[in-house]
């Protein structure tokens, strides 16, 4: 599978799916567009899985494709896949079919053709973002993701969604604009140095002056901070998740937002290592503020979907913190957190969506005692909540612990501030559970017949639950992909881990000291 353009195929399949779905015959109440869309997203999933099997864990950038696009500006159509990209691609292709199945009913409130088409288009654009190895191409698809996202938010969901969609769009466009300035700046720097090129590999070897590097870094960082989101540019998040369908929220928060932290790793650290280190103190403080602030604001919410959205502010704080403390544990923890957050928050959003369909309200104060009617739903909701609160045994714990350890290693106060999140997270999750699920008289449930999770809903949550438990106990398959990537990234930045204060006499890692047993 050497020269075959696998990555292009991966992007084209959902794109074709989007076009096909959009032009399907419009019969009222037909499930055809959803079925076709599911088939295309399934095909993408299979393709990605096949690709993943051929991926060599320590092989750097793989499956590369490169064609000249705009030669005058040195723009290429260049794709490639590294450890970070692979995990993000897998996360995307796994979540999209799940979202399609979960949104089976939500899609019908507008045109299902449009919903499925936009979802597939968003998948294609996200895949392009995660595989682009040319800065200009990245910029183009980065902005292109906004088109399907805008229509998904504005077209489907709760009243007031158009306003939320506009707010989302303007926020993101402002970020994109700032980034565009830096992208143009990169052209200037690169053409000054000889032939202009936007290829990541060429730009990495470029020698940028300190001041210029800082300005360019800022442009990229601001865009990614808005995307991620970080305090204080996060206010689009809760408004959007409140109004959009939960399926859209999953795509936004679990896939699209990852572009922010993905970009920080690949572009901020990759292109501007010096400036990234220069910005560390401020970024670390912002990340810490995000963690604590997001948790506190989540506690104060009365809308389930706003609450879940704001927990992500806290979680993205952890990811950014892990990235900017520049250590192996922090980097690996951050990337692992990106995957785990994708699974955990997706489950939380979807299950909350199922709950809201039953209770007919998004307000916590109007729900109570639902557990009595729907014990399975309540159980899944609790697991998802506890995953978000970083309970050991569920996937997010490992990443949270790694980030905590690295933050403490960076500065003890950073660790001490970040650790408060484990208490605050327990409060917002369990308080929400207490108010919605427990109590004597349940809220009337809107779904007649079988009030608890149906077969289709179980099918949606099962893979996510499985992933959370599996990677809670066996995260090594993921870490085996992440660790080489993080190590090479940190080597490019030029930092090495500090040794422990007291060197352990035995250089063999603790786990194998008593080895022996299989």
């Amino acid at each position: 599978m050497n020269d075959f353009p696998w990555l292009t195929l991966l992007i084209v399949v959902p794109l074709v799916g989007a076009v096909v779905t959009a032009f399907l015959p419009r019969a009222r109440g037909s499930a055809l567009p959803k079925q076709v869309g599911l088939a295309f997203s399934g095909l993408t999933l299979v393709l990605a899985a096949v690709m993943a099997t051929s991926y060599a864990t320590d092989g750097g950038m793989q499956l590369e494709e490169q064609h000249s696009w705009i030669s005058a500006a040195g723009v290429h159509y260049a794709l490639g896949l590294d450890g970070l990209g692979l995990l993000m691609v897998l996360l995307t292709v796994v979540l999209v079919p799940i979202v399609l199945v979960a949104s089976w009913a939500d899609a019908d409130q507008g045109s299902p053709h449009a919903f499925v088409g936009w979802v597939l288009a968003l998948e294609a654009m996200s895949l392009a973002v995660f595989t682009a190895t040319d800065v200009f191409l990245f910029y183009v698809v980065f902005e292109a993701t906004l088109i399907p996202a805008y229509f998904l938010i504005g077209g489907f969901g709760r009243p007031g969604r158009s306003r939320a969609a506009v707010k989302f769009l303007i926020y993101q466009l402002v970020g994109g604009l700032v980034m565009l300035a830096s992208v143009i700046g990169l052209y200037a720097v690169s053409s000054d140095a000889g032939t202009p090129s936007y290829l990541l590999s060429d730009l990495k070897s470029l020698d940028i002056g300190t001041q210029t590097e800082r300005w360019l870094f800022l442009g990229f960082f601001v865009a990614f901070a808005i995307k991620a989101p970080m305090f204080p540019v996060h206010t689009w998040l809760a408004d959007t998740t409140e109004k959009a369908t939960t399926g859209t929220s999953v795509l936004l928060v679990c896939v699209l937002d990852k572009i922010g932290t993905f970009g920080m790793l690949r572009y901020c650290l990759g292109l501007f290592p010096g400036a990234s280190q220069w910005a560390t103190p401020v970024v670390v403080v912002l990340a810490l503020v995000s963690i604590v602030y997001g948790a506190f604001v989540a506690i104060g919410q009365d809308d389930v979907l706003r609450l879940i959205g704001l927990t992500s502010l806290s979680h993205f704080g952890f990811i950014v913190l892990g990235i900017f403390v520049f250590s192996t544990q922090g980097g690996s923890g951050a990337v692992l957190y990106m995957v785990n957050h994708g699974m955990g928050t997706a489950l939380l959003f979807l299950i909350a969506g199922f709950m809201i369909r039953r209770s007919g309200t998004t307000l916590i104060s109007e729900m109570r005692g639902i557990e009595k009617v729907t014990p399975v739903l309540a159980g899944v909701f609790l697991v998802a909540g506890l995953a978000g609160a970083g309970l050991p045994g569920l996937a997010p714990f490992v990443s949270e612990m790694l980030v905590l350890i690295s933050a403490f290693n960076h500065a003890w106060w950073a660790g001490a501030v970040a650790v408060t999140a484990i208490v605050l997270a327990a409060i917002y999750m369990l308080w929400m559970y207490q108010r919605t699920m427990t109590g004597p008289t349940p809220t009337p449930v809107a779904v007649e017949g079988a009030p608890d999770l149906g077969r289709r809903e179980m099918g949606v949550v099962a893979p996510l639950l499985l992933g959370l438990v599996l990677f809670g106990f066996f995260p090594m398959p993921l870490l085996n992909v992440i660790n080489p990537y993080v190590e090479s990234t940190l080597a490019e930045v030029g930092v090495t881990d500090e040794p422990s204060v007291v060197p352990v006499s035995d250089p063999v890692p603790a786990g194998s000291v008593e080895g022996g047993q299989e």
Binding site: I170, G300, F397, F408
Partner: protein
């Protein structure tokens, strides 16, 4: 009190020798170590995932898995006894849990005398309580789920005591917290139960911050979180680091073991079904803090300041819990106060260093027996009294529930420390050691013993003696065999548990893990201390009899009571303090930040867009539709251009 007394710190520093863990890889029967955890874990998984299909036999499976674990634990324990003292540490590497850079955390198990005793306690008492629950929960439609949660708890608790590194401990630590949360809130439809469950979990999490940070600090200092590796090099870390580690671990222990200042959740936790209170909130989970301190002896031995902190916390809790126990009319809450106090004794022993670790574990085991016995007995009484928990509605039950009465009485004699019951041996030793170390601490421990005798006698008198004060329509009856047999076994253990101290067996047995106790000389012979302690106990019993035995007890709690009683009824204002210092300000911060997020942070954004919109509104007025005004602005523009050109040309 003069707790920074030199004798305490100097003594701890003198302890010097910290045993290094040096396990051998598991072989033979010991390769089954993982099975002990896997059995109840599988039970929980089957019962939770199997759904209603497992309703009919769920409770039997749940009990069988724990019994299976007990059998394996017992087999391994016997094999362990067959080995030489220096050969009693066995490790099992299951797989690498996670690894990044130099941080390598394995799913590793460590089986040594300390964990061996814990395994027997957890699976043994656990089995009895499972059997008891078959009867106790017989009429609950969600009995299967109850057993699933119990199994989950046992699995997590076993993970806690078998883990070979602090991250593994943390897995079990939070796992038992989760199980405790699920079980306290088992009757979710009761708002008080749901609130108590959340409170317990959140307060535990405050302690967990300590454990998380301790893990981080250990990695930064030692580059590992493994007991084996750290015990070998802990001496090389700086004093400040070790003290910080000790204090962080103490914070964790305070959360889990309901020690002051994180004690407030334990009494509320009595909202859970009684077997849960017996297993989790008396015999096992709440003693995890003592386990943690004992297990971390290689840190505490080198951090005398942290040890002092442990002792202070322990003494305060010991008295705090005892005072609560005196004022509660709810039988379970009175017992919970007593649990808190007894854990204070264990922490005190653990804080005394090498002299006390083995005694802490000894008292922990004995407490596991007699307190489980009494909690289950209380459950049996509640069963008889239609789930009424108010002791003022009891009275004269000794005839109605004879088996429960006799077994409860044996637990009672054990806890107040009457020879030859187990509690006498364990508590007496702790008081003795505390006196030898620091007489102030020792006197407080002695005082605690007196108060214990007082409130336990009060509990006995109010429940089993005196007049009938039953509610109408209550017809007490003895519980079925499935509930009374576990009571008898536990009562027997409460009576006979003391044999473990014969020839200092337990001290020698634990020595490879916690070190040899130093020989200390007491000014008076130990028998004198025992007699004094007995005298104090007798005083406590007598006072209780004077107040509650000779006079009739009103059915309603008298409201005209002293300030002390009122304070004790209000949990010594523990909740009020938490509310005032943390909950209310925290809530205010959350509300304030939420408002700020809307008004200031989002307000800036929304305000910006409003300003732009406003500017547009203003500027569009210029577009007034009159040709002449357009022409005028055109003229003005042209003049400006001309002026600019002229300015440039002339300049």
């Amino acid at each position: 009190m003069n707790l920074t007394d030199m004798s305490l710190s100097v003594f701890a520093a003198d302890a010097g020798h910290v045993p290094v863990l040096d396990p051998t890889p598991a072989s033979g029967a010991f390769t089954l170590l993982w099975l002990i955890i896997a059995l109840p874990l599988a039970g929980a998984a089957i019962l939770l995932l199997g759904g209603r299909a497992t309703d009919r036999w769920g409770h039997l499976l749940g009990t069988a898995t724990v019994l299976g674990s007990f059998v394996v634990s017992l087999t391994l324990f016997i094999s362990l006894l067959g080995r030489g003292a220096e050969d009693r540490e066995i490790s099992q590497h299951l797989y690498t849990w996670f690894q990044a850079g130099t941080l390598d955390v394995g799913m590793d198990l460590l089986y040594d005398p300390l964990s061996a005793l814990f395994l027997l306690l957890i699976t043994g008492v656990g089995s009895l309580i499972h059997i008891y629950s078959i009867g106790y929960m017989a009429h609950d439609e969600r009995r299967r789920r109850f057993f699933a949660y119990l199994n989950l708890f046992v699995a997590a608790m076993l993970m806690l005591v078998l883990a070979e590194n602090y991250v593994g401990v943390f897995l079990g630590w939070e796992g038992v917290g989760l199980a405790s949360y699920l079980l306290i809130g088992f009757w979710q439809y009761r708002p008080s139960a749901a609130a108590a469950a959340k409170k317990a979990f959140v307060m535990n999490r405050v302690g967990d911050m300590g454990l998380s940070l301790a893990i981080a600090l250990m990695f930064v200092t030692f580059g590992t979180t493994s007991f084996v590796a750290i015990s070998a090099v802990s001496g090389e870390a700086s004093q400040n680091t070790l003290t910080a580690l000790g204090l962080l671990l103490l914070l964790a222990a305070c959360g889990k073991s309901a020690q002051v200042p994180l004690q407030a959740w334990l009494l509320d936790a009595m909202e859970g079904p009684t077997p849960v209170s017996a297993l989790i909130h008396a015999a096992t989970m709440v003693t995890a803090g003592v386990y943690l301190v004992t297990r971390s002896n290689f840190i505490y031995e080198l951090a005398p300041d942290a040890q002092t902190a442990v002792v202070v916390v322990a003494v305060v809790t010991l008295l705090w819990g005892a005072i609560l126990g005196c004022a509660k009319d709810d039988i379970k809450k009175a017992l919970a106060g007593s649990t808190m106090s007894q854990i204070g004794y264990m922490m005190l022993a653990a804080g005394l260093g090498a002299a006390g670790y083995a005694l802490a574990i000894f008292h922990l085991l004995m407490h596991g027996f007699f307190k489980a016995d009494m909690f289950l007995g209380a459950g049996s009484v509640m069963h008889a009294m239609d789930d009424d928990v108010n002791m003022r509605h009891y009275g004269a039950l000794r005839r109605a529930v004879p088996v429960t009465f006799i077994t409860f009485a044996m637990g009672y004699l054990a806890i107040i420390g009457i020879p030859p019951f187990s509690g006498f041996w364990s508590k007496d030793k702790i008081i003795e050691t505390a006196l030898a170390d620091n007489w102030v601490v020792g006197l407080f421990a002695l005082l605690g013993a007196g108060i214990t005798a007082f409130y336990m006698t009060r509990l006995m008198l109010m429940t089993f003696f005196g007049e009938k004060r039953w509610a109408e329509g209550v017809h007490p009856h003895e519980s079925p065999k499935v509930m009374t047999v576990p009571l008898m076994v536990l009562a027997a253990l409460s009576l006979l548990g003391g044999v473990m101290l014969i020839g200092d067996w337990i001290v020698d047995f634990l020595a490879p893990v916690v070190g040899e106790p130093p020989h200390e000389e007491l000014a008076v012979p130990p028998i004198v201390v025992s007699l004094i302690a007995l005298a104090v106990v007798a005083v406590g019993v007598t006072i209780a009899w004077m107040i509650f035995g000779r006079r009739p007890i009103p059915r309603e709690a008298p409201q005209e009571v002293s300030f002390v009683t009122r304070a004790a009824r209000a949990d010594l204002y523990g909740d009020a303090i938490n509310d005032g210092l943390v909950v209310v300000p925290g809530h205010a911060v959350a509300t304030g930040l939420t408002t700020m997020d809307d008004v200031v942070v989002d307000g800036a954004v929304e305000g910006g867009s409003l300003a732009v919109a406003g500017l547009g509104q203003t500027l569009r007025k210029v577009q007034n539709g009159y040709v002449r005004s357009y022409a005028l602005s055109l003229l003005g523009g042209a003049l400006l251009v001309v002026a600019a050109l002229l300015a440039v040309n002339l300049a």
